[in-house]
């Protein structure tokens, strides 16, 4: 059944008449995803190689039955595009856009979250369930169906790890990039819970990186309620220390946020951590015994 990107996903692409929007809409459709509509204000009635274009997301919902939106619009307009999709009643929103102002995302997050609307991203590659549906920009040709659920904060690292697993003969149930921005709609914990409930997923790989405390919180949840085996990879062991943000940043983050700190937090809960993609893939292969 997979998660997020499923056979029931009916995608509307916001910004479909843009270069990137058209490219990924068509690529996703070619992969087999139901791409039912696109939106560009003022272009209702047009189509992109047969995909109907509407003026508003609500029309895509009402007239084309869209239930998931893929936002591929420039950063200045992306937050409003997400809010439009949320207001129009789609269940899931995937936002690819990088560089959205952080305060815009605060507003978006606290709008969608209490209303139970799933937001993946922004600044994320979306979700791919190999052989089923691709809602995003993950280069699907690298991946094949299999038992490993993969979740990552980084787009390109997602592909990298997925590629390493594929080289080892391991496929994926769903590959999910949650995005690398300070405020993203879906956390590691949210995806861990989805994978835990997904019968297709037998094994979970979590790809984190320095900054924030999401990996540390995920470690707690894995110990508490995730019964499927998890392997992690963390990037940024050699990253230079970031610039300080006055005293306040140091007070609130304390010692958490470093790659070593995250590795320690995960290993303390029994989650093996690879320190480069190849090592992480090797750990998965060892655990799965294949």
């Amino acid at each position: 059944m997979a998660v997020i990107a499923t056979a029931d996903t009916r995608l509307v692409v916001q910004g479909i008449t843009g270069r990137e929007g058209a490219f990924h809409a068509l690529r996703n459709r070619a992969y087999g995803t139901q791409v039912v509509a696109g939106v560009t204000p003022g272009k209702a009635g047009e189509d992109v190689e047969g995909i109907p274009v509407f003026d508003a997301v609500a029309d895509a919902v009402d007239r084309a039955g869209a239930n998931t939106s893929l936002v591929v619009v420039p950063p200045r307009f992306a937050a409003e595009a997400i809010l439009e999709a949320a207001d129009a009643g789609v269940e899931q929103i995937v936002c690819i856009t990088e560089g959205i102002p952080a305060h815009d995302m605060l507003e978006v997050y606290h709008y969608v979250r209490p209303r139970g609307i799933r937001l993946l991203g922004p600044n994320c590659p979306g979700a791919l369930s190999p052989g089923i549906a691709n809602i995003g920009i993950v280069p699907a040709e690298v991946f094949s169906p299999g038992p490993v659920g993969l979740v990552s904060r980084s787009g390109t690292l997602t592909y990298q790890i997925g590629g390493e697993l594929a080289a080892a003969g391991l496929g994926n149930s769903t590959i999910i990039g949650i995005g690398g921005d300070p405020v993203v709609g879906t956390s590691f914990i949210d995806v861990l819970d989805l994978f835990e409930a997904d019968p297709e997923t037998e094994f979970i790989v979590m790809v984190g990186e320095i900054g924030g405390t999401d990996e540390e919180k995920a470690a707690e949840v894995i110990a508490e309620r995730i019964t499927k085996p998890v392997v992690a990879y963390i990037a940024g062991f050699e990253a230079p220390p970031g610039k300080t943000m006055g005293h306040a940043g140091a007070i609130i983050s304390g010692s958490s946020g470093t790659a070593a700190g995250k590795q320690a937090a995960l290993e303390a809960k029994g989650v093996p951590v690879g320190t480069n993609p190849t090592e992480a893939a090797r750990l998965v292969v060892e655990r799965l015994g294949r």
Partner: protein, 382 residues
């Protein structure tokens, strides 16, 4: 983007937050003129984008123009944690009764702004947080509500601000939050936030960081950028909308996406090499942007080899190859380039590279192999 104290205070003043009257000075003569202008006792403060200037001798309280000039002479050029002092703020001294601390941080873990207030300001606030955690009040603001009067009331109550002072302090807290929200700030910190002898409050310092992604709608802040304080390569990268960081080694790193670039830095170190810098071209880079990024990476003299690590999603392998080949045709590239290309249109990209058959380029199949080759090539040159 970090702001100098005087720039932060300019934003404060625009929002109606009291600050001491002051002038910016770039020379000792300007500092003298400023002191003359202001009259009486003044404070001469180094304007550097780092903390700890007090301990480093970057702040002096003096009486009159002559001593102000002398103080400026001493402070200008001072190296404070690697930042050379090139500008000063000369401010009228105020009669301080009490020093508080107040800050608003973009707390990414909670996904909410975090307010912090303590009446034990002025000193090392990290120490207050360690030693007297009960004295440092912390409160999150739900962005769906924004800042309300009750946030200030609760915070002042938690920090044990005397009831008689709350009426005067509350509007300042609200106005500082206004700066945070309206100015797309990631941090607004005032230490000390001083109570004057007349029981009014004043922001005696200002640490403000603005979200780079929002500068397009904060043009007056963007215009404040201190170009002298920035590395020229970082400056060029920013103008081309590239993330660039300088390090100490000899392998230049180019990649797409912060995660992959960070991982590449890790792997270079793990195979025994040392990165000279790294540049993230982001998602969907055009051929032109790729060429610009390569130019920036190579403009660092220490670079002996370049590792080009691309796993494309929105970035297309053919664009990357075109950018790379275009750059090679236009400029004389002095260091060998190792290319690893995967993902969207990677096959097309690799075909373009194979067709061009440039001797400077080595193509590798995996990230690990590419890292090993880049490190080996850098070693051969050195």
């Amino acid at each position: 983007m970090d702001l100098h104290e005087h720039q932060g205070k300019e934003l404060f003043a625009q929002a109606g937050i009291p600050v001491a009257e002051g002038r910016v000075a770039f020379t000792a003569d300007e500092a003298r003129a400023a002191a003359e202008d202001l009259g009486g006792r003044v404070v001469v403060k180094a304007q550097v984008l780092t903390g700890g200037r007090g301990k480093a001798g970057g702040v002096k309280v003096v009486d009159g123009p002559g001593p102000a000039q002398q103080a400026a002479d001493t402070i200008l050029g001072l190296d404070i944690k690697g930042h050379i002092t090139r500008r000063l703020l000369v401010e009228r001294a105020v009669a301080i009764a009490d020093e508080y601390y107040f800050s608003i941080t973009f707390d990414r873990a909670a996904k909410m702004p975090l307010l912090m207030l303590t009446t034990m300001g002025g000193m090392d606030v990290e120490a207050v947080a360690e030693e007297h955690p009960d004295r440092l009040a912390r409160l999150h603001v739900d962005p769906a509500l924004g800042y309300r009067g009750f946030h200030g009331q609760r915070l002042m109550s938690m920090a044990n601000v005397p009831v008689g002072e709350r009426k005067a302090l509350a509007p300042l807290l609200a106005a500082l939050y206004g700066v945070f929200a309206d100015r797309d700030a990631m941090l607004v910190e005032v230490n000390p936030l001083v109570r004057l002898e007349d029981d009014t409050f004043l922001a005696a310092d200002a640490k403000v960081t603005i979200d780079d992604n929002a500068l397009y709608r904060q043009p007056d802040v963007e215009a404040m950028r201190d170009l002298a304080a920035a590395d020229p390569q970082e400056q060029a990268a920013r103008e081309a909308d590239l993330a660039y960081v300088k390090l100490d080694g000899d392998v230049g790193i180019l990649g797409n996406g912060a995660g992959l670039v960070m991982s590449t830095v890790d792997v270079i170190a793990q195979v025994g090499g040392r990165p000279a810098n790294f540049c993230d071209v982001g998602g969907g880079a055009s051929a032109e942007k790729i060429a610009t990024a390569l130019g920036i990476v190579l403009s660092d003299d220490k670079v002996q080899s370049v590792l080009f690590n691309i796993f494309g999603g929105i970035t297309r392998g053919d664009e990357v190859a075109k950018g790379l080949l275009g750059a090679l045709e236009q400029t004389d590239v002095r260091a060998p380039i190792v290319v690893r290309l995967d993902g969207t249109n990677a096959a097309e990209g690799r075909a373009l590279l194979a067709e061009a058959a440039r001797p400077e380029i080595t193509v590798e199949e995996t990230m690990l192999a590419a890292a090993e080759t880049a490190v080996r090539l850098a070693g051969e040159v050195a």
